[in-house]
């Protein structure tokens, strides 16, 4: 397979996953806002600010948008052309990548991405933001899941498929970390120590990861931070948990290199193996309130390094992730 094709498959899949996760974050925040009693714009922005921080988008937002209203943030994260990780930008990038390799993917895969793009492009952005149209967010999620299903059932499960898995799992693991991290920022904005608020925030995070039901089947208790972290980081069964994603990532990487799981044939494989061990042997104390942040940050750094190594090994030289570039500058 051409290096360029591997690169496009990886990024096509990664951008779709990124779009879906951003929608999840926006959706869940808007839902939370509806439940809160004091819905002044000032208070709503306090809800948004952690999301923006965890995505690394706060500076960009503040440099582009003068108003710090809920409506502005929704627009920025969903439709903004200036924000390279907005849902629209991600879908446009996914489509550009798909277009470059449309001879390599199934016609159905291309069509669903193209339809998603046309849907977003023809949506009345102002109206969606003003009316808080949940159907809209729901449809975007459905498109993403449809794309995964179509990929699963129309694309040969060979080399290219593994690159698609790599892109998706890397992005998903990273976003689960960021969603968890958002809680840390939430803690710092609320002035009153309030258990009810705390629980509501954790519940919102669970919903953002489609993990609410999974949580309640696993833990017969109220929502607690330690349990949420355990589920979203260390579960071996829940498909959005960090360990689950990285495990799937490792399998895909070894399917590409045909190297047995007990060995490694390149730096990316070595790093992913180390990371899995760390999570496999993590103790509850590492997930405690005061330590979890360090672990999450380490995982995020590892994931960035793994992506870099994968790209150097199989794709074109340097990873060019416009979102990351903008944050750094």
């Amino acid at each position: 397979m051409l290096c360029r094709v591997a690169d496009s498959l990886f990024w096509m899949s990664r951008y779709i996953e990124r779009a879906e996760n951003t929608v999840r974050l926006v959706d869940v925040t808007l839902q939370t806002l509806l439940e809160s009693e004091h819905s002044s714009e000032d208070i709503s922005y306090r809800h948004w600010s952690p999301i923006l921080s965890s995505l690394g988008d706060q500076e960009l937002f503040e440099s582009h948008c003068s108003e710090t209203s809920s409506l502005e943030v929704t627009h920025f994260l969903t439709f903004s052309r200036e924000n390279p990780s907005s849902v629209f930008s991600c879908v446009a990038s996914a489509r550009e990548n798909a277009r470059m390799i449309r001879d390599q993917i199934s016609a159905e895969m291309w069509e669903v991405i193209n339809r998603l793009y046309l849907y977003l492009k023809n949506t009345d952005a102002e109206r969606v933001c003003r009316e808080v149209n949940f159907d809209f967010f729901h449809r975007i999620k459905e498109f993403s899941i449809l794309f995964q299903g179509i990929t699963e059932s129309t694309f040969t499960h060979q080399l290219g498929y593994e690159f698609i898995i790599c892109g998706r799992q890397l992005e998903r693991a990273d976003k689960t970390c960021r969603i968890l991290d958002a809680k840390r920022f939430m803690g710092t904005v609320s002035q009153v120590e309030d258990d009810a608020l705390d629980t509501a925030q954790w519940a919102a995070l669970l919903r953002g990861c489609s993990a609410f039901e999974a949580y309640h089947r696993t833990y017969v208790s109220d929502v607690s931070g330690d349990h949420v972290r355990e589920l979203l980081m260390l579960s071996r069964n829940f498909p959005r948990s960090v360990l689950f994603c990285i495990d799937r990532l490792q399998k895909a990487m070894h399917a590409i290199s045909k190297c047995p799981l007990t060995h490694f044939s390149n730096e990316a494989e070595r790093r992913v193996g180390l990371l899995i061990s760390r999570l496999n042997y993590a103790t509850p104390s590492e997930l405690a309130d005061d330590k979890a942040h360090q672990l999450i940050e380490d995982i995020e750094d590892d994931l960035a390094d793994i992506a870099q190594e994968l790209s150097a090994r199989y794709m074109f030289a340097e990873i060019v992730d416009p979102a990351a570039e903008l944050v750094e500058s």
Partner: protein, 477 residues
């Protein structure tokens, strides 16, 4: 749906001058007549949506944002009966065989120049002549593997050659997709219509590409070389690669190693490439030889080609035969190389590089069509009868400054075809681009791209200037 309209003085493809349908259009017209306007509208919308959703689009440059558009598709197909097609295909074969002989000759012994049939000064000033391949023996002596020749019909219905596209003719994917769209929209038209299929184009193309592999390579690796996703014809490049089951590569995917062979970069290392169906112009194909600033091409490609390690389709340097001045000499070439009379005539032309013709052209420009010798896509031309005085004056100066750079032709009132436009059927001008493949044999796909000028009265059929297209039916009998 009512199809009849005022035919004016034009040759109409579907109707005799008395308004009765021509025999080969009768059943089609009666089927269209049975459609209700609502059904017709539904089918139109369904086809447009399908094109858009499949991304069968081209890019329009020069607007604030380059935009993607679908190539407007007209539902009423163009029909060509067998007798006409047989005439066309022998004429096109004759023409392409001649062009290949001509290219071989001018890059070797130049007999045609020595015998004073083709003027030396025209060759010396040919913009697309490539000294890099002079004396080079290209595989199987084929230069133009894929040719798209533009044909028009005059007011008597006679077919004329308007130009030969011997570099990277595009549009063949529309020929194939238009047929698919028609089959989806009108499934019950087809079983008894006696339409010859066009679907085997990709397999003929692949066979011709494999035929051009370097000596000694039995199982050649073929790839389509594209300028990339921002090229207006990118959809077509992908489409053909997919249909042939070969890789589509960009310049940055390829590398020429010290052994002067071409390789593509894969996740498993370098892999040899033997034949490139290149959709990049000569100018951009190798920055070591042609434009130094090109990032689309592959450094060293010409080196590999000259060493005989690579087949290229079309060959380098075919643009000489594309030159509109050279076009004017094709009838002479046919006599010279094949000792035959041309089956398909050219449009009557004047060559301003000849002083007498220059004088005539300058004096009669308002009655002529004047075209730049090396432009395409409907650019760099003027249609005298509809141009303003200022435009004509400007063009006179251009022709005076560079007589070699232009030709002039009699305006042809292109044939018209029933076309749905502005809410009703009406006559619109059309042309025809059949695709001719030169491999082991010369093969012409029974069909082609019929382009239609959708604006009333317009003679310009190019997609960039308000043109659309039609499915083209060649009948078995």
């Amino acid at each position: 749906m009512d199809i009849a309209y005022d035919q004016g003085t034009f040759f109409d493809e579907a109707f005799e001058s008395d308004g009765t349908p021509r025999p080969h259009y009768q059943s089609l017209i009666s089927k269209f007549a049975e459609l209700s306007p609502e059904e017709f509208q539904q089918k139109r919308e369904a086809i447009d949506l399908a094109f858009l959703q499949q991304g069968i689009t081209f890019t329009v440059y020069g607007e604030a944002q380059s935009t993607e558009r679908i190539f407007p598709f007209d539902l009423m197909p163009r029909v060509i009966p067998k007798s006409e097609w047989d005439h066309l295909s022998t004429g096109l074969k004759q023409r392409l065989e001649t062009l290949n002989l001509f290219l071989h000759d001018i890059y070797h012994d130049r007999k045609i120049v020595k015998d004073k049939v083709f003027p030396e000064e025209i060759l010396a000033s040919a913009k697309h002549y490539r000294p890099e391949i002079a004396g080079l023996d290209v595989p199987k002596d084929i230069y133009i593997h894929i040719c798209g020749t533009d044909l028009i019909r005059d007011d008597q219905g006679a077919y004329l050659v308007l130009e030969d596209n011997g570099r990277c003719p595009s549009g063949v994917s529309y020929m194939l997709e238009n047929r698919q769209a028609m089959k989806r929209a009108f499934p019950r038209f087809f079983p008894n219509a006696g339409v010859r299929p066009v679907t085997d184009y990709p397999s003929h193309l692949l066979a011709a590409l494999r035929h051009t592999a370097p000596e000694g390579v039995d199982e050649p690796t073929v790839a389509v070389l594209t300028p990339g996703v921002y090229n207006s014809a990118y959809f077509e490049h992908c489409f053909l690669a997919r249909q042939m089951g070969v890789e589509i590569v960009e310049g940055r995917d390829l590398v020429v190693e010290n052994d002067d062979r071409v390789y593509m970069r894969t996740t498993e290392g370098l892999k040899r490439v033997d034949v490139l169906y290149r959709r990049i112009d000569d100018d951009f194909i190798d920055p070591e030889v042609f434009r130094k600033d090109s990032v689309l091409g592959v450094p060293g490609l010409v080196r590999a080609y000259r060493k005989g390690n690579l087949g290229l389709a079309n060959a380098l340097g075919t643009g000489v035969a594309d030159d509109k001045v050279a076009y004017c000499f094709v009838p002479d070439m046919i006599k010279y190389y094949l000792d035959q009379d041309p089956i398909l005539p050219n449009v009557q032309s004047w060559l301003p590089y000849r002083p007498d013709d220059l004088k005539y052209v300058l004096e009669n420009m308002e009655n002529l069509v004047v075209k730049a010798a090396n432009e395409a896509g409907g650019y760099g031309m003027i249609i005298g009868p509809v141009a303003s005085k200022a435009e004509i004056a400007e063009f006179r100066e251009k022709v005076k400054a560079d007589p070699r750079g232009f030709i002039a032709q009699t305006p042809i009132s292109l044939s018209r075809h029933p076309t749905y436009a502005d809410g009703a059927f009406d006559g619109r001008h059309i042309d025809l681009r059949p695709y001719i493949i030169s491999g082991k044999q010369t093969h012409i796909i029974p069909g082609g791209l019929t382009r239609v000028a959708l604006r009333k009265g317009s003679l310009v059929v190019n997609s960039s200037q308000g043109g659309g297209s039609k499915d083209t039916w060649v009948l078995y009998d």
